[in-house]
């Protein structure tokens, strides 16, 4: 008796599942977008911001009639910041969910290892955060695009700021992995071009801290003792927060030397530090919510602030912008066919909150503006803002295609 | 006919830090003679065994086994020469079957330690040899049971079977009847006597239970506070005054 009951219930459950798995047979199928970000663990802040940004864009688009009249659905997968898990997540989205476009990737290492897998999946991927120059450089391919600022662009802007300062002897502190080392290499290269007389600290005087570092005091000591005139900092996230607080206590920001932080204007850092972020320091970011007052940007930051209670971070902007970029490409191609969308993405120009971006046809890197500024207090905002602010036009900071190493075409 | 000495111990010393446990012990064990080492608690019997079987490196003196100087040799090198030992506390491979317990030393003996792709099940000759040994100690019918399921007395028998498996020339038995009930003790005495007579192995045992010693041993050494107090046939030891004093009179009458 009981057994048969169990049996029938199981069948019922299976049927229910089947029904739920076949959504809306009658209606036109929605467009599926797959997002892969770090959703869990230490760096899940980034995934959460991205998810909020993406959700906001999707809701806005659906409220105004969707893309080509079709609704948009977002599917979010967790990369956990590990390349094999990210690869699995991408496969799931492509083969299981059947998404029309992939969006995401936070970690450069993950991006670098999974990008070569994308052509197999025959699905476009729009990178919104990972900054390694290589994915639109020597490992570029037909399917991978990036709408966010890459490391080379951001550092080029940093070099421009640095070239205007009086400092002639530069050093760095950065995370001890590819991002930190590459940032320093590009910084030296670009600054040397702009200001040939400039000098850099030798290898044993610069500081690279492992990502798990929480106590930066000995690195701070090392840098201060080497008596530089300028310090370029590529730390980010929790590392940067720890560093800034400890460095501030040790007199790092007293003005003995100039300080540049390539990701110091990230909102998650500013929100954590609030008024503990020293003022008058040059900081950069991939997107700054006050960088312009275009209608698109005002709409984005107010809507985001209203819904999530914070001003949007660069990762929120990346996901938000990627959805709109995809929308623009589909509308340009008048189809969701993946090949057509890729064609449409190549050379696409679109107005995003960050400003107007253009995706280059060859290397698929977006030419987008970089924003730098000096930290300043403003009673209207709970966090430090940038004043004065410098916008570096995308054209000036994006290296020519020939220099990227991208061998498409 | 002068029998060969299978074990010669010369002026053996051992100490832990400043604490002297063995001070200058010399003795000889002739081949084939069932010899016993007795002494009150803390006399140094187990330490003596540990030194000979290679657990400790002695601080002085010499151990010669079967004509080879084994002083300070590690245990795993001594065993292949033909010197095996059993332990006072049951020390067997509990989760393995009784048969496997015996197969371990057998596989070692026949150089199969690192043969890793042949099936143990197909090593028929090993299994047969193991069954012979299990038969000798009377465990044949329990060969396939896991060792931890056996009653205490049987576990002690497994202990003996492991020691016998490599067909050693000399077996050191450390209190083989410790913790046994009278019936089990009786069985063990009988077993040791038979094995000593039939197997061609020399047995050298320590024992706490005087009854066992006097009913089994052909020759006895008495250890007291790390020194050899007396030696002789059981009857001689029984009469020895010094031994009686060492045991405070009590135990020997038992």
């Amino acid at each position: 008796m009981k057994r048969s009951q169990l049996f029938s219930r199981t069948i019922l459950a299976v049927l229910l599942c089947l029904v739920m798995c076949m959504p809306a047979i009658a209606a036109e199928k929605p467009i599926k977008l797959g997002f892969v970000y770090i959703m869990s663990g230490p760096f899940s802040t980034y995934g959460q911001f991205a998810k909020q940004g993406a959700q906001l864009a999707i809701d806005e688009i659906n409220a105004s009639g969707g893309i080509l009249g079709r609704k948009v659905e977002g599917y979010f997968e967790d990369s956990t910041g590990k390349p094999d898990v990210a690869a699995r997540a991408l496969k799931k989205l492509v083969y299981q969910v059947g998404v029309d476009c992939l969006i995401g990737l936070d970690s450069s290492g993950v991006a670098k290892t999974v990008v070569p897998l994308i052509p197999q999946m025959k699905t476009p991927l729009i990178i919104t955060h990972a900054a390694t120059p290589d994915v639109t450089g020597n490992i570029c391919n037909d399917y991978v695009f990036r709408i966010s600022l890459n490391l080379a662009q951001n550092v080029k802007a940093a070099a421009k700021v640095a070239s205007e300062s009086k400092a002639n002897l530069w050093t760095t502190i950065g995370p001890d992995y590819a991002f930190g080392h590459q940032s320093w290499e590009y910084f030296q290269k670009y600054l040397k071009e702009l200001k040939p007389g400039v000098k850099f600290m030798p290898k044993d005087k610069v500081a690279f801290s492992p990502i798990k570092t929480t106590d930066f005091s000995s690195y701070i000591t090392k840098i201060m003792q080497s008596k530089p005139e300028g310090v370029f900092i590529s730390l980010w996230g929790g590392n940067l927060i720890d560093f800034v607080r400890q460095a501030d206590q040790m007199g790092f920001f007293k003005g003995d030397f100039d300080v540049l932080m390539s990701l110091g204007a990230a909102t998650e850092v500013l929100y954590a530090l609030k008024d503990k972020m020293p003022v008058g320091i040059w900081v950069g970011t991939r997107y700054w919510f006050l960088s312009n007052n275009s209608p698109v940007n005002v709409k984005f930051r107010t809507a985001y602030h209203k819904r999530f209670g914070q001003y949007p971070s660069y990762n929120a902007h990346g996901a938000y912008g990627a959805v709109y970029t995809y929308k623009a490409a589909v509308e340009k191609a008048k189809s969701v066919d993946k090949k057509a969308v890729i064609k449409a993405l190549e050379g696409l120009s679109i107005e995003l909150p960050v400003g107007k971006i253009t995706i280059r046809a060859v290397d698929h890197q977006a030419v987008t503006d970089a924003c730098w500024g000096k930290t300043a207090a403003d009673p209207a905002y709970p966090i430090r803002i940038l004043k004065p602010m410098r916008i570096f036009p995308g054209k000036e900071i994006t290296r020519p295609v020939e220099q990227t190493g991208c061998k498409r075409k | 006919m002068a029998t060969r000495n299978i074990l010669i111990v010369e002026n053996l010393h051992h100490q832990f830090g400043k604490f002297k446990v063995l001070s200058g012990i010399s003795l000889e064990v002739p081949e084939g003679r069932l010899t016993a080492l007795i002494g009150p608690n803390g006399a140094g019997k187990t330490t003596f065994y540990n030194v000979i079987s290679g657990k400790y490196v002695p601080t002085g003196g010499k151990v010669i086994f079967d004509g080879i100087d084994i002083t300070g040799m590690p245990a795993y090198k001594i065993a292949p020469l033909g010197l095996m030992r059993s332990f006072q506390i049951t020390n067997i491979f509990l989760k393995l079957s009784v048969l496997e317990n015996v197969l371990v030393p057998l596989a070692l003996h026949y150089g199969k330690t690192f043969s890793c792709l042949t099936s143990l099940g197909k090593e028929k000759s090993l299994a047969e040899k193991a069954m012979v040994i299990l038969d000798q100690v009377g465990l044949k019918d329990r060969a396939f049971r896991p060792a931890f399921e056996l009653p205490y007395g049987d576990k002690r028998l497994v202990e003996i079977a492991i020691a016998l498996a490599r067909r050693p020339k000399l077996v050191l038995l450390d209190e083989p009847t410790a913790g046994m009930n009278p019936e089990e003790t009786e069985r063990m005495i009988l077993l040791i006597r038979n094995l000593s007579r039939e197997s061609g192995t020399t047995f050298f045992l320590t024992e706490h239970d005087m009854k066992v010693v006097f009913s089994v041993a052909q020759y006895i050494f008495v250890l007291h506070q790390g020194e050899l107090l007396a030696e002789g046939k059981p009857s001689e030891i029984r009469e020895n005054k010094a031994v009686k004093e060492a045991y405070l009179g009590g135990a020997l009458d038992a």
């Binding site: 959703m39 869990s40 663990g41 995934g47 979010f76 997968e77 967790d78 590990k82 390349p83 094999d84 690869a87 699995r88 799931k92 083969y95 299981q96 290492g109 670098k112 290892t113 999974v114 990008v115 070569p116 897998l117 490992i139 590819a178 991002f179 080392h181 | 290679g54 657990k55 245990a75 795993y76 090198k77 001594i78 065993a79 292949p80 095996m84 030992r85 020390n91 067997i92 491979f93 509990l94 989760k95 393995l96 496997e100 371990v104 030393p105 596989a107 070692l108 199969k112 330690t113 690192f114 890793c116 792709l117 042949t118 099940g121 090993l126 396939f144 492991i162 020691a163 498996a165 490599r166």
Partner: protein, 320 residues
């Protein structure tokens, strides 16, 4: 429970599992075929770990070191022009074998938690090398394989790029490796391992050089981990430092205890449970860590023999 019957039943179950696995891709969607490939590879990894843990009583917390050596050596040799997959995988296994011999020589002298911490330490040293030797290993970014060379046999060229081809390739390799492990466990050497787990001191006194026995097991386990690493790098087209990190070493531990360390297929079963669970949980919630933890706690407390181990002992207990 006679060992012989359990051996026979293990063999039969092994063969039937292989049969079922060979049929799976026909019925499974492509994504699940890929998951299954991963389960196979991680299953082999977990079983290599269990040769040390379950059979020799050694808790290795650095098994990812050898997994990573296999993955890196395979990837690097393909990137440097090795055309044959077989040769590349052999190089991967050789690298793990050398690494395992050197590290094993130092580690097998210690027991229990000290062994675990030593292997953790050496594993993390390999991680540091992978993470920092940018010229060879690509540093923190790792290495990516743009193309896995096709395999050749009997003049036939088979590409491993299609997921189903990769699946069958992995299945055959893993089955061969598992068969070897099975032989090892049933051999006289396998008996030595179990004896060393049960009573190391006693084994010493019957004339076995326990260190050498352990070292040999350590090398076999290292090579098998290297093989699974090589497969994993081909499957994912990459080798990354995270493959070598201690948190990757924790995976086989988790899988083995989940499935059961006393059953031959326990670790592989644990791998399957782990992946399926992960797929289910992550599709429901982002907070999969809390759910996974909440599932693990009762499993550890109430099924000390692991899930497969508990199921098997239900059946055997009913018989008895």
């Amino acid at each position: 429970m006679g060992r012989n019957t359990s051996v026979k039943s293990q063999f039969i179950s092994g063969v039937s599992i292989f049969g079922i696995l060979a049929l799976c891709p026909i019925f499974f969607p492509i994504y699940w075929t890929m998951i299954l490939t991963e389960i196979l590879i991680m299953g082999l990894f977990a079983m290599s770990f269990n040769l040390l843990f379950g059979y020799s009583g050694l808790l290795s917390f650095g098994q990812a070191g050898f997994f990573g050596l296999g993955a890196y050596a395979t990837t690097i040799s393909i990137l440097h022009g090795v055309k044959s997959i077989w040769l590349a995988m052999l190089i991967g296994m050789a690298a793990s074998a050398i690494g395992a011999t050197l590290i094993g020589f130092l580690c097998v002298r210690r027991d229990e938690i000290f062994f675990a911490m030593l292997t953790l330490g050496f594993g993390m040293m390999i991680y540091t090398v992978a993470h920092n030797w940018r010229e060879l290993t690509g540093g923190s970014d790792g290495l990516s394989l743009f193309m896995v060379p096709p395999i050749h046999f009997f003049g036939l060229e088979v590409s491993l790029e299609p997921p189903r081809a990769m699946y069958y390739f992995s299945l055959i390799i893993v089955a061969a490796a598992v068969y070897i492990l099975w032989r090892v466990i049933r051999s006289p050497f396998g008996l030595m391992l179990m004896a060393s787990r049960e009573n190391k001191d006693r084994l010493y006194f019957v004339g076995a050089n326990v260190k050498n026995i352990r070292l040999f097991a350590f090398v076999i386990a290292g090579v098998m981990a290297g093989l699974s690493g090589a497969l994993f790098s081909l499957f994912n087209h990459m080798a990354a430092p995270s493959f070598v990190h201690w948190s990757f070493s924790a995976r086989p531990v988790l899988m083995t205890i989940l499935g059961g360390s006393e059953i031959f297929f326990g670790p592989a079963c644990g791998a399957a449970i782990f992946f399926v669970l992960e797929q289910l949980v992550t599709s429901i919630t982002e907070n999969w860590m809390i759910v996974l933890g909440a599932i693990l706690i009762p499993v550890v407390i109430f099924t000390p023999k692991g899930i497969l181990g508990t199921v098997v002992s239900w059946f055997t207990d009913n018989k008895a």
